[in-house]
Symmetry: C2
Subunit: 680 residues, 2 copies
């Protein structure tokens, strides 16, 4: 009956967990953050933000959408003010935005509008507007999708008709469905936009091209004549609240000819079309966005892991032990089996993102010289990874949220917010189902190229199709029985299985290419991408030797990566089993997947004492996480209590609804009850 003080116990549990960690957190943190210097830089910026009340998050969850929009712009303005004051570099400003955890309209200017303008605008146009765009003296958006059309730009309806007489283009939305729709920062913010429209020359449709179009007056921000603009309304689940995704209809709006983005396609004064040298050159920007998505997904998973592992460390539930305390929920197999893989995803994608950005930079510098040799590989890799990280990220956020039981459904838990904002990543920048097709197409192409030769050689294989080497030499047959328990400790076992899975599934796909089943694209793309990531993870593990971490940290981090590999194999079991790569152990009956499942459980148990240390190594502050359940000191109940007091409904004792509805309902009920009683 006396019992423990459960609130005090949360703090004790967290402190104990930190004491038990054997790793030096700082070393792992520097590994993840790319060195002590980067970490220090980041901390300096965070100190500035956390001290500034403009970035206060305490009222955010109670705000209406209009308030969230206004707050978002106030934040943005403040960041650029701070940038000027503190002379932050571009990278430092990016760090500040990343720390904010807000879906801001300015993101569309910085990530969509400006890169497209700079990379595709002709020299004259860039000279005229480049500066003012990069200092945000005008604010832009990128108008591609329409009410009736998404990623399939070939079918867009908006037209840009060249008028040779006045050397102008006329931008026009001929139909309701040609209204530009979903355009971030268009609804209320942007002064200018890059509009994708069908170029019409002398009545002929030349396909989609880009045009720089003023949208609002620089005097008073009013919408310019001939244009109808508005916000498209709230997003599902309250996601992207601060962003004004908008619509626009153009009614024969004239722009000067020079406003066509003409780096790769031009129109002469007379209205003749000049062909672009290489159409694919315009892909660069999209690939950069996708490469960056890997890193940011990694950090998002890191947040999910930090919050849920911290909560599961202090939350106790179940039978009481000999110490009179219930069990920490993290010790329940059903909980750690869900949370530790999320931690491993974060470690994988944070590191993988770094090497992808490097690969992107290499490709870009080659592209600048007209060398497109790396483009196809980059395209195949980033398409598959975009699908993998976005679907894994969305899933991890929800798995982590759900692991927190009832309290996970409170907005103060913090993960719902991240989920709502991250959810569209599975459909934007290429719908995942569309990208899957591209991965499959690339895989089939590599497969056919390899076997079109009478003497296939693995030397021609790129990293993303390297798994196909297994099909060349028939002596390298699949495993004939499931690996024994010990074999799972070697990362090579899992990597080889993932590669065999990809190889056999592509081989099978090629066989039935004319009669595929309905889910084959998803299955093939996943297998191919996971084989690539598996091989990359093996490289990361090798690289740990030179990571600057100590022995203990290296061993622990290696286990995290191994957990990634084993759980990826587990999720690919259907394929491994259906192609007979994993089979029964000779005549022994029973579950052929058991050694793997037990290996995963044991690995999780080895990692459990390090879970808090590994989460701390991500280095998030309480302000960044903005989660009652993920507070550093573990005092989750105090935090929930304190936040609840601020709920607007609690600012009056009796709600307005009492006089309006509750009282009439009570009175009716009392009257009816009296009537029923009187009938007795």
């Amino acid at each position: 009956m006396a019992g423990h003080d459960i609130n005090a116990q949360t703090g004790v549990d967290m402190a104990n967990a930190r004491r038990k960690t054997s790793i030096t957190i700082k070393h792992v943190r520097n590994f993840l953050h790319g060195g002590q210097e980067e970490w220090t830089k980041r901390q300096k910026i965070l100190e500035v933000l956390e001290r500034d009340e403009v970035f206060d998050k305490s009222q955010r969850d109670f705000m209406s959408r209009t308030e969230r929009y206004s707050r978002g712009l106030a934040i943005t303005n403040r960041i650029y003010e701070l940038q000027e004051t503190h002379e932050w570099s571009q990278q430092e400003t990016n760090l500040a935005f990343a720390a904010l955890d807000e879906s801001l309209p300015i993101g569309l200017h910085n990530v969509a509008f400006q890169p497209v303008f700079l990379s595709q605008g002709g020299r004259t146009l860039v000279e005229k507007y480049g500066y003012i765009i990069s200092t945000r003296g005008i604010l832009g958006c990128y108008l591609q999708t329409e009410l009736g059309h998404g990623t399939n730009v070939a079918q867009l309806e908006t037209t840009a008709t060249y008028i040779p007489e006045s050397k102008e283009f006329e931008i026009h939305s001929p139909t309701l469905t040609s209204s530009k729709w979903w355009i971030g920062a268009l609804g209320k913010t942007s002064t200018h936009g890059v509009v994708q429209a069908k170029l019409i020359l002398g009545g002929q449709d030349m396909g989609p091209h880009l045009f720089f179009v003023p949208l609002r007056s620089m005097e008073n921000h009013k919408v310019l004549p001939g244009i109808t603009i508005g916000d498209i309304g709230p997003k599902a689940l309250g996601g992207y609240s601060p962003t004004d995704n908008g619509f626009a209809r153009f009614n024969h709006v004239r722009i000067p000819k020079e406003n066509m983005l003409s780096q790769f396609a031009q129109v002469t004064d007379e209205g003749k079309y000049v062909q672009p040298p290489h159409a694919k050159l315009s892909y660069g920007g999209m690939l950069y966005i996708r490469a960056n998505m890997v890193t940011s997904a990694g950090w998002l998973m890191a947040k999910a892991a930090t919050v849920s592992i911290r909560y599961a460390t202090v939350r106790r539930q179940g039978e009481r032990g000999s110490d009179g305390l219930e069990r920490q929920t993290l010790t329940h197999p059903s909980v750690y089996y869900r949370l530790l893989p999320i931690l491993s995803h974060a470690f994988v994608f944070i590191q993988l993102g770094k090497s992808l950005v490097k690969a992107f930079e290499q490709m870009s510098s080659r592209l600048a010289k007209g060398d497109t040799s790396l483009l196809a590989e980059m395209h195949a890799t980033t398409s598959g990874l975009k699908v993998l990280v976005s679907s894994t990220g969305v899933q991890d956020l929800e798995v982590a949220r759900r692991s927190m039981g009832g309290h996970g459904y409170s907005v103060f838990a913090g993960l719902g917010r991240l989920y709502a904002d991250y959810l569209p990543s599975v459909t934007y920048e290429g719908d995942n189902f569309v990208l899957d097709q591209q991965v499959v197409r690339a895989a089939l192409k590599s497969y056919r190229a390899l076997f079109s030769s009478s003497n296939p050689s693995s030397s021609s294989l790129s990293p993303s199709s390297n798994y196909l080497r297994l099909l060349i030499n028939p002596k390298t047959a699949p495993l004939t029985s499931a690996p024994a328990a010990a074999a799972w400790k070697d990362p090579a076992t899992a990597v080889l299985l993932l590669e065999w899975r990809a190889a056999l599934i592509v081989h099978e796909y090629a066989k039935h290419v004319k009669d595929p089943d309905a889910s084959v694209n998803q299955r093939v793309a996943k297998a191919v991408t996971e084989a690539f990531v598996g091989a990359q993870v093996a490289e990361i593990i090798k690289g740990l030797e030179n990571s600057g971490m100590g022995e203990k940290e290296r061993k622990t981090v290696e286990k995290v990566y191994l957990l990634y590999l084993l759980t990826t194999v587990e999720n690919g079991l259907i394929d491994l089993l259906s192609f007979g790569v994993l089979r029964e152990h000779g005549t022994k009956p029973g579950d052929v997947t058991r050694t793997l499942r037990v290996a995963i459980k044991e690995l999780c148990e080895e990692l459990l004492p390090e879970a808090i240390g590994l989460s701390d190594a991500f280095g998030f502050s309480d302000w960044e996480l903005d989660s009652s359940l993920g507070v550093y000191d573990g005092k989750v109940y105090e935090s929930l209590w304190n936040r609840a007091q601020q709920e607007p409904l609690n600012q009056t004792e009796v709600p307005a609804a009492y006089e309006q509805s509750i009282k009439p309902m009570l009175e009716r009920g009392q009257r009816q009850a009296a009537k029923s009683r009187s009938k007795l």
Copy 2:
């Protein structure tokens, strides 16, 4: 260039799809709704609601939480006013609430507070308050969970100490973590509550018991002395906005002794405890809630299917065909493969819910006579089904939403709202991971009971463990190769596979019960529940003969059920493969799962022309669905456009944020750009 009018085409596509349906929708509708009479009753109520502006949904998505709360109570008051006016029966009133698609505080009075009070209150207490509770002359809530404790009621901290001197109980919250938390309708609405607290008699803890406690003044709705009450704040993703989930702390609050709910446990005036005859009798209410969850999940899946299938019928994307039109997205395998199974889930759970409610009623009438023989079976069945329907429902809503691409992320798509409200179903009424354990325990018990006999007989097996019969006769060996294409057309193939999967997995679990892997509970529980549902679906299919539907409808509906079975087998492939139930076809290499995958694809293709007809048969009105993408006439783009115009941000041309933040930002940028230029 001329092109089609894409907006007009949406209406044409929908009309064409309706024309192509071969089934008579009315017949299937009556099958789902339980007959023409029930359908007519429902329609009459809907007409009343749709005509009444209190139930207008057009501003709902723009409201703050406080506004949603006030609207929710206004709606509730109006329903009871209409009930009185139209003399609606209880069932008709329930139909009205179900049609509203709102998470209302009154639900907690009706589904938690009132049933608990009536079933567990002693005769005197029920006589005193029964009427006024059932007419809502007082409004109640059920206070179980605490800030520091969830479903594990044995560990609750709130105390109810008996004071023999005054014949009172003193309700007390000794700690912060003992605050009641998450209690629906407590925050601002309820006048009374049933509080779960540890009964303390003479210093001894007698475990959790229930007490009827006044919370607010019946004069002015103010919180009574000694109690601190408030709303716990917003829920994740904006879910349950209209419900005031609340907290309460009790500071030595006295209630008369008669306020203990004493149907099954009593305290004498002197403070002696009188034992309940059968503790489990109190489970009834929870089982009823769970049985009802199956039906309501079915209708929720029906909404997801209707909206997404309608949108996929009118949305066109991809290459243009010979008619100059892009493909309807529903014809893409990756789309129909995701959506038709959702339709099949709806058909299964709507029908299964009906038989469960019947089974529940049968059990209740036996329970009333003290016969508990059906309780264990009902408990095992509903635990597993609760997990299955809630996790499937959440998943289906998201799969359907995601299938709609970009527009699916608009709040006007309608499915995000349903998702946010349905999400907590995976954690409330028993967290799914906790319930899984109970299913596994029940399965193991049945397994051991069966094989404890030297001569095991299947006659002792209940429907939920009937699959274990396969283990009795070793002659009934698993299939030795994958079924041929034709075999998948017989529902018996899939049902037998699901039963074999359950039987072998329970057998394996029993073998390793002391050394389980980390995910075994989820795996076993799913297999066991799906075997039960599979067998039930076979029964439903047999029952179609007497459904009153015509031949065409019967054949089509049977295919829907078959699709359920085949896709369930597909989702259970890992187990089927790892236990060798599905194996390679002799020496033929390749994918052993291919015949199943192709069978699913072909079945989907047979169902495609009927998809709109089958969705229409659910019978939802546009007002009920409240979805721009699911409008009956197919004019999705018009609907999106019209709704967007109402967005609050669109009510002013220049947002307030312009003067506050946008203008300063533009001016700073222009100044910086000028400075950079001047440096050149």
